[in-house]
Symmetry: C2
Subunit: 207 residues, 2 copies
DNA sequence: GTCTATACTACGATAGAC
DNA sequence: GTCTATCGTAGTATAGAC
């Protein structure tokens, strides 16, 4: 499939060099097709860019199917079960962020986060919104007294711990004195994430 | 100063569009000078890019002078004082990340974090290394039993909570249902950061 | 559907006037 | 130090063959 190959290559190129920096020539060449295939399949460079966003949203959603399943019936859970689910979701996200395959699309997302275009709307509506609302619902079981904005802020900062594994990867590697994150570093970071999350949620529960 | 104006403009342009995406034509025009001034002052596009990294490092270091001062004599502190200092540093970083002025250089840094070039070395050696080592030293007062890698992982995830305010700004705004972060949102996020940090550090202390 | 060929614009670098 | 002028290259888009 020329179309599928173009999408995959384009996500990598747009992610690394940005919309303007990436060239349709390079993308077409790397996908082993002609430049005009982009016009045919996506209408042009911009169409290809937006299609990348849709593809990423679908891909992340598929990869996190098990995590999304943990959002159902949140209101009926005990506090302990809600905490357990939050820990599972956080770890699932961490594993994804630590996996090499997430590098390309994560670059794309981080770029859109800082300079949102129409592509960000698609990413947000496609996955992020549901992910954040889901965690918020679980958090409201853990901290029933918190206001909705407080729960959202909590969810965002918890996500921040996970996202730093991608968005500041170079510093993570430098700090841990490795060239790239291996199994040992992954285990260390996941353990730390789990313990931090437990600490935060327990502190909120005690009050 | 043509040189200073070029640096400021270039950080914004490189941050938004990346090294390849940004054009020396646009940078020169925005700095109200000729394109050849870049050649004269920085030797070319790449020289300008590296000079941007140095400038950012110096700028952040200057802006965080008070925070860096909190690193001195870490070994002699009580656990409570070390925690208090970590909270101050975290809040100082959060204020910086929430301030509109950090948008341009933060884009530059986040980009380098995901695709490090020689510019990342300059950012790391210029500020980040000392910042992370400093926090690590304070953390070792709080959790004297932890290994160095454990302390580094802890420091990284704590930073992640702060960095998410910039690196995922679009999602933060969407989640809080605002177009941009105002004083109310800033207060909410800073409070949450503080409480999370206290919770994490207390949990580690108890064991 | 995928290719080649081409039109037109914008890129970075540099030479040389002032 | 800063400008204008220009060179060679690389960008996107599109027309048209197959």
């Amino acid at each position: 499939m020329t179309r599928a190959r173009l999408l995959e290559v384009a996500i990598a190129h747009f992610g690394r060099r940005g919309f303007e920096g990436a060239s349709t020539r390079d993308i077409a060449a790397a996908a082993e097709t002609a430049m005009s295939s982009i016009t045919y399949h996506f209408g042009g460079k911009e169409g290809l860019y937006l299609a990348c966003a849709d593809h990423i949203a679908a891909q992340v959603r598929e990869r996190q199917t098990e995590a999304f399943a943990l959002f159902v019936d949140a209101a009926a859970l005990t506090r302990e079960d809600a905490i357990a689910r939050i820990l599972l979701i956080g770890d699932s996200m961490a594993v994804m962020m630590l996996h090499p395959a997430s590098a390309d699309w994560a670059r794309f997302i981080v770029r859109e986060q800082q300079d949102p275009t129409e592509a960000f709307d698609r990413l947000w509506e496609g996955v992020m919104k549901d992910l954040l609302l889901g965690v918020q619902a679980l958090l409201s079981r853990v901290c029933p007294d918190h206001s909705q904005p407080e729960l959202r802020a909590l969810a965002l900062l918890l996500f921040g711990q996970v996202m730093v594994l991608r968005s500041a990867r170079a510093s993570v590697c430098r700090a841990l004195e490795v060239d790239e994150l291996g199994p040992d570093e992954a285990a260390l970071l996941r353990k730390r994430l789990r313990r931090n999350t437990i600490a935060v949620l327990n502190a909120e529960t005690e009050e």
